[in-house]
Amino acid sequence: MEFLKSGIKTVLGSTEPGQQPSAAETVEKLVERVYSSTLLEDRRDACRALKALSRKYRIEVGAQGMPPLVQVLQNDGQDAEIISYALDTLCNIVTSEEFDEEADNPAVSVNVGEQFTEMFIKCPEHVSLIMGYLDEYDFRVRRASIQLLTSLIANKTRELQELVLVSPMGVSKLMDLLSDSREVIRNDVLLLLVELTKSNSNIQKIVAFENAFDRLFDIVQEEGNSDGGIVVEDCLILLLNLLKNNTSNTQFFKEGSYINRLAPMFKLNEDAQWTPQKVSNLHCLLQVVRALVTPSNPQQLVAACQRAMHQTQLLQALCELLMSSGVPADILTETINAVAEVVRGEHENQLALSQVLAPSQPPRPAIVVLLMSMINEKQLLGLRLAVLYCFACYLYRNADAQRQVVQTLLPSNASEASSALSTGQLLCTGLFSSDALANWCSSVALMHTLVEQVPLKEELLRVLLATADGQRPITLLAQCCKLLQQDQQRLQSKLGLLQLLSVWLAHCPGAVKALLETHGTMAYLTAQLCANEHDEREYLLQGMCAFLMGLCIQFNDNSLATQRREDIVQLVIKRIGQETFCRKLQEVSRHEAYSRACKQAQLRVKGAADLLLDFEYCKLYKGLEALVAKLVSGFDVDGIELTELTLSSEASALVAQYKGIIRGLDTQIQTLQQHSQELEQKSTSLQQQLEQEQLLKSQLADQHTLLKAQLGATQSNGVDATTAAAAASSSANDEQLNAARFQANMYFAENIRLTKELDTMRQQLQLEKQRADDAQASLTTLQKDQEDLLELLADQEAKLAKCEVATTAGAAPPNISSS
């Protein structure tokens, strides 16, 4: 302070003792001096004094000093010293940081820096002025302008980002500073870039284009990789900024083979200590990995990154970290989350994870060791949830792994698995433990083994559990139902069980049947739906019960005589009411936990109590809620299914389509039948005609032979006559002969003509026959089609008939036992 005072004295001249000028007056004098002094030295001294005052009297300096300081920046560019004072002063004014000197000054509000920032950037030229000083090589000037810009960006990020973007080569210029040989400058630029790249994809892309990835990895390497100091952390934070929610940059990162450079950073030095800095570094590094493969990125890109992470041994390094000892809990948690996302949906990676062995005695699969932590009450919540997420990701679109888990539970495998802990056993242990969170996690984990796997749902029905008191073994499903009904079970456990059962029953009539056969489950569900609890969570439970009941209707194959879909709907109508049912059903999607769980595959909760719904359950719920509601409200009061209504839109469209086809085929058959009749008629008439012709022909042939014989007789007669010499009679004979010849010729010609006609008739007949055959053939195929369709129609009719029966039966509704 003494130095300060003396500084001020030298500038202002000594004041009369006892009359201390106020800060505002002092600042005013200094400002006047900056404006009016002709000598550079005087202006420089005034600036130095302003800088000194700016920490303690920020408001006074900020209110009056900005215009003169800008003037200095505009006019005194050739003097590095005065520029650095001006920049430093501005920096002090706009920073959001609170100085020790002003701590006791009540006039300084929290956001005073932000307000001064706003004033300063009102004129965009001010920012370009500062950007201009980045080119100045002088250490003080360059550093001060970097720091000032950083403060401005931190306070008014959006506005400054726009200003930097329009400033010619603004971002590129900043990127150049990253190569400054002076480490201090480089580190300050890193901080600036961290602020600048916050949620602005355009800037992020330009920074990446300017070789940021190379530069950052180089710096990280220089600084000692994950064992390095805070600069490494800054680099990783910047890297994270560039990649997060930026698919273009993620693509660039992947294509540029930078994943190669990530992997070695996970290699841990055996004896290296877990310093707080190292924990931070590794945490950022894991975030970077996750940003590349987060499920919210386009799937193609995620898969490409996942494959690259397998090839570059990054996955392996993560697994090693997972299995090494002494890793701090939050790093372990984040590692598990990272492994989860690196394997999610990528078969090769999932396989690799399944083959990882924990260094235990005897060696156990890593998955098993992880599940052990999940059901361990003493583990941290975050870690347990990470394991659940990892397990779910391991099973995601991985039918083999899903089958393997279910198989460890099946009776045939029980004996051989007894020696080593299996995944299935662990899940059962968790399911029946006294820890509600373990119940919930295990239910959900088991649920993930069944997602989109109907055959496995059938398989899991076969699982039997030994009972403690030596009674008959009970099925897993029955046990779950039993647990659900127990009063002492906590709500969280019940929600878990309901999720498991819902996924189990969906699209699996066998499971529906099994559930309906269990003792008291339907009664429990009904009771829940009738209950009128006012707790928000009770509502959720009731809604989920309604959904489960809806699944019992939707996927019911009517194989149980007293529990057909109509019967259950009757139950709903009589005991609960359709409106109430639908209202309760809506409770689930209205619940806060639902919207939270829907957002992403990873569970993010503040406390264990917030853990209510899982992502996959919500997905199922979303898909079937409307269907269930429509199904239940599609029955009339007497429990008669209004057929068309209850069919889903696709199904009814399909039925309509088939109806159309049947109609079309019907008309086609009719026309063909008509056609074939006509052809038959034609063919018989032709046959008749032919017969007539043949008759005529044979007659003619007879006549012909007769005539021939006559001719022969007359000829021989003629010879006799000449020898007998009766010339007169010869002419008469000749005449007769000629007439006979003529007649014979005529008959002959007629005969030929008729034969020809006969031939053509025959041909025509052949042709007609062929046509008749063809028609017959198409008729039979059509008849076959018709038969198929008739069967379909018969089905529909049967349905209708059933409805009619039900209508008649409606007068005396079936007696439903609710016990």
């Binding site: 329009v166 010619p168 080569m169 284009f209 300017e210 693509q251 660039f252």
Partner: protein, 213 residues
């Protein structure tokens, strides 16, 4: 995948001339007929072979709209090659070439290879700019010229590969300072130190699956 060289490209030109389609055809070998406006800049990459050497192309496809001009300008400096695209069925996109070229020359490094591309050559019936005009413009400004069709893939490979050949030759001649990454060129692990004095090295050999021109 390792490469001998890495070249950075940018694609510039008026909006709607088919820049994104050219990139998609080159990287994914498919055509997307729906006009999907590019926001800012999008990235794509592909490996090609020139003179028996693996060369990685990293391509930044820029938005053509005026509103993004200040953003896209930031990409000129770091690029080794630029594809300047116009639409042969729209005269105005050809008329704007001078502005684009000035902009590019002003902000890029002087060695940047610029390839002039008249796109949509499949729409010959609607042609407004004659091929000779494109050739003349290219000659006048010292550019390489080609007509392409992102729809039929005609000349698309060639456009990207010939630009790469041009850059490759400049490297062989020692024009580019390959140690300065700001030029948009990076040497990979695979590259053997080339001797610019060797004359034969410049002849570009079989380039991928493209026909040599």
């Amino acid at each position: 995948m390792s490469y001998a060289y890495l070249f950075k490209y940018i694609i510039i030109g008026d909006t709607g001339v088919g820049k994104s389609c050219l990139l998609l055809q080159f990287t994914d070998k498919r055509f997307q007929p729906v006009h999907d406006l590019t926001i800012g800049v999008e990235f794509g990459a592909r490996m090609i072979t020139i003179d028996g050497k693996q060369i990685k192309l990293q391509i930044w496809d820029t938005a053509g709209q005026e509103a993004f001009r200040s953003i896209t300008r930031s990409y000129y400096r770091g690029a080794a090659g630029a594809l300047l695209v116009y639409d042969i069925t729209r005269r105005e996109t050809f008329n704007h070439l001078t502005t684009w070229l000035e902009d590019a020359r002003q902000h890029s490094n002087s060695n940047m290879v610029i390839m002039l591309i008249g796109n949509k050559s499949d729409l010959d019936s609607r042609r407004e700019v004659k091929k000779e005009e494109g050739e003349a413009f290219a000659r006048e400004h010292g550019l390489v010229f080609m007509e392409t069709s992102a729809r039929t893939a005609a000349n698309v490979e060639e456009a990207f590969i010939n630009t790469a050949k041009e850059i490759y030759e400049k490297i062989q001649e020692g024009v580019f300072d390959i140690n300065n990454e700001a030029n948009g060129i990076k040497i990979g692990q695979q590259a053997t130190p080339t001797n610019p004095a060797l004359p034969g090295a410049g002849g570009a050999g079989g380039a991928g699956n493209s026909g040599c021109c």
